[in-house]
Point group: C2
Chain length 442, copies 2
């Protein structure tokens, strides 16, 4: 038999782990599936050297919850492969999430132990969401967390995400979304434009120059077709010659040049001098080539005359931390007496804190974040805060009794990220390695 | 305005970079779009320490080529956003790939400079495929390359892929496929089962135990519903107590126990002794918790009594190398005289070799790979091989004049990977860091 065309599910509900369904089967049989439960999605640590993380993927995750249902083809697959028994298949066929979901805003900062997402529902309905919620938030937050640092490093220069080719074909689309949440200005990925309305842009590849009979012919063709505002890639052969050819083709009002190789400080400094000498004083210099927050920070510190950065591999792979290490843990369960009780795993290296937690960020009189509190409701009394401090609630109830509220637009999400970042002191924004600026505590 | 539901494209053709389309526009205007061209997909290097890479994603890539067309909604999006001009939109609306594609087999090994994929077509039709081919092959090959080393390290023990929660929701599905190509036995991801027919499996989470009133009740519920062949997670509270509870629930024919925390050599050694003492001599021990090829190699070297490994984060993120760094470069273009000429970028740090290359692996008299040749056709004469060696052709023409051939099944792909791996000497299979075992040369 030959490999046929793959059939893709029409809903996201099978993007889950086999064991979620077998646990559901056993819990339906024991009755525990119908107990009220609270799950919390959080991380125990930030990637090495990071001072904060950025929540991304909330909009995608809630859309996935809304679409989380099992159609006939999926039920047939589960039956044919004997994944679960008939009562469980009946439960799945009727599945709709009927509980509530409280989350940190998309674009919000998070720290170790921040209760980023809290899911209330029956054990059965809430356990099924584990894998999908984690997949979306771990990926998107990893990318956004790296992207936010790059935006800070770029100190106001524009940044374009162009890493599609270095991550999975679908991951590329959602990575573009995550970088936009964190403040990137545009993406090269057209599907991200189609799907999320993110601005798309691009320059040209070396292949374009190589396919023409000479660099001047290639540049002339590009300018003729795309206008003098285009950005010409000048490093296919020799950069100074490329710059002269570029200005010859586009004139002194040429939009930009891109340099994709070499020592970028040296090359851009020489390029700026040559462009100015040729009269192309407004022509912008864009660079690419394995950039990340560290390289950008170096270039900015050296005063390299760079107007824009194109970032690929390093941002879509989370700049060394491709996953945010978030976990989804049961923190409360209804007992046989009908009362909710906090629960927590006891093992030494993976302990967790039980109970539904209310999260706030504490700000000092200057509006600087000085603490994050995640207080189990069962603890009862409110924490006293030092005089002069204020608090900001971190959780929003986007799903109540199965109904999903309107979500903020991506532009609102971007604005929220900027506002949350503005609450950190400068030291927390340094790209040099540091420890988490805060840790949520009760 | 609120964030609405996202609309997803019905074809993969917008999973491409903006600049592919603007280059096409300029090349249509200059006439270069209609020149015959050859692009090569290869990598200049392997991730640090790796001795070989594994080709994965070929089946997915060719399915994407077959589906690569622009529908009305996509054309409308491109028009509304002024991405390209009307002649280019007309070209895209009629786009079908009509060229030929030669690739290494899925499951094949690759080295620096191996011509993994060669695309022949017009410049316009071939340049458009760049981003999508790279996205698929860079991701899938990164995961398969890591997975293959883990299979070797496990020395015959079974391995389950369970990393869905630590990578993007769609990346998770295709990562499962890539690990299966490289020899993993099963995945936790149900959509991978639905879509590709990969076996799915799973155990249980700590939440299941915590949701019941006691560990014995949880284990009894799981065994009652799923049978004594199930695998019980024994480290929610105290491992020895968990093991006693597990055997009490499942009897001495209990299928397995899983340990997800602690020092796995110490814990599994004690667990084996206790299981044997309790008479559960056939009960298997499965471990998880941040495993990778190095941890597995250590456990195997120490003789830890482990029957199966569940691997998550580290395999889906490529064990430190989440992308395979493959690039897609123009290597031949038709000149104004109708003759094909080799082309190559000259920049110092990113040079490439021009020309369509025929690739073979050279095997010695014992069937051990001793060289890889990638000879530009223009070079003409065949290379002489030392006496006693044989060669194996590495490229298969899966697409000829736009027609896609039948592809091997995933089981055939797995078998090919095993066969290709068997051509390497033991030193090349060590998980300890090394340099590329071969580099393709002309």
């Amino acid at each position: 038999m030959r490999q046929g065309r793959s059939r893709h599910s029409d809903t996201p509900s099978l993007k889950t782990d086999h064991y979620e369904l077998t646990m559901l089967q056993a819990a339906l049989a024991s009755g525990v599936a119908h107990r009220r439960a609270v799950f919390e999605l959080f991380t125990r640590r930030l990637p090495s050297g990071r001072r904060y993380g950025v929540v991304a993927g909330i909009g995608r995750a809630l859309e996935a919850v809304a679409d989380f249902r099992f159609d006939d083809a999926q039920i047939a697959f589960l039956r044919e492969n004997a994944v679960v028994d008939t009562p469980t298949l009946d439960y799945l066929a009727a599945y709709r999430f009927t509980g509530s979901i409280h989350t940190y805003r998309e674009g919000e900062l998070f720290f170790p132990q921040s209760p980023i997402v809290t899911v209330e529902g029956t054990f059965g309905e809430a356990v099924l969401l584990e894998t999908l919620l984690l997949s979306i938030l771990n990926h998107d937050s990893a990318v956004a967390s790296a992207a936010s640092r790059m935006v800070t490093a770029a100190a106001g220069a524009s940044i374009i995400e162009m890493g599609s080719r270095r991550t999975g074909d679908e991951a590329a689309v959602v990575a573009a979304r995550a970088t936009y949440v964190a403040g990137f200005g545009a993406t090269s990925n057209l599907e991200a434009g189609y799907r999320y309305g993110i601005p798309t842009t691009g320059t040209a590849a070396h292949a374009f120059t190589l396919a023409h009979d000479s660099e001047p012919e290639a540049f002339a063709a590009q300018v003729a077709s795309l206008g003098a505002g285009t950005t010409l890639l000048v490093d296919t052969y020799d950069i100074p010659t490329g710059i002269r050819n570029a200005v010859a083709a586009g004139g002194t009002s040429l939009g930009g040049i891109r340099i994709d190789s070499g020592d970028l400080y040296v090359e851009t400094t020489r390029a700026r001098a040559l462009l100015d000498e040729l009269g192309a004083t407004s022509t912008k210099i864009v660079v690419s080539s394995d950039l990340d927050e560290y390289v950008i920070d170096d270039l900015v510190s050296q005063g390299a005359p760079i107007d824009g950065y194109g970032i690929g591999t390093r941002v879509v792979t989370g700049s060394g931390a491709p996953t945010a290490s978030m976990v989804y843990k049961l923190v409360e369960i209804e007992g046989p007496d009908g009362q909710m009780r906090p629960v927590a795993k006891k093992s030494a290296d993976k302990a967790s804190v039980g109970g539904f937690k209310d999260a706030t960020r504490v700000l000092d009189a200057h509006g600087v974040a000085v603490a994050e509190l995640a207080v189990p409701r069962a603890a009862g009394t409110a924490t006293n805060h030092p005089a002069g401090t204020t608090t900001r609630d971190l959780q929003v109830t986007y799903v109540r009794d199965g109904k999903i509220a309107d979500l903020p637009t991506l532009d609102e999400v971007r604005a929220h990220h900027r506002a949350a970042l503005a609450e950190l002191p400068p030291s927390a924004l340094d790209v040099v390695a540091g420890t988490p600026y805060l840790t949520a505590r009760s």
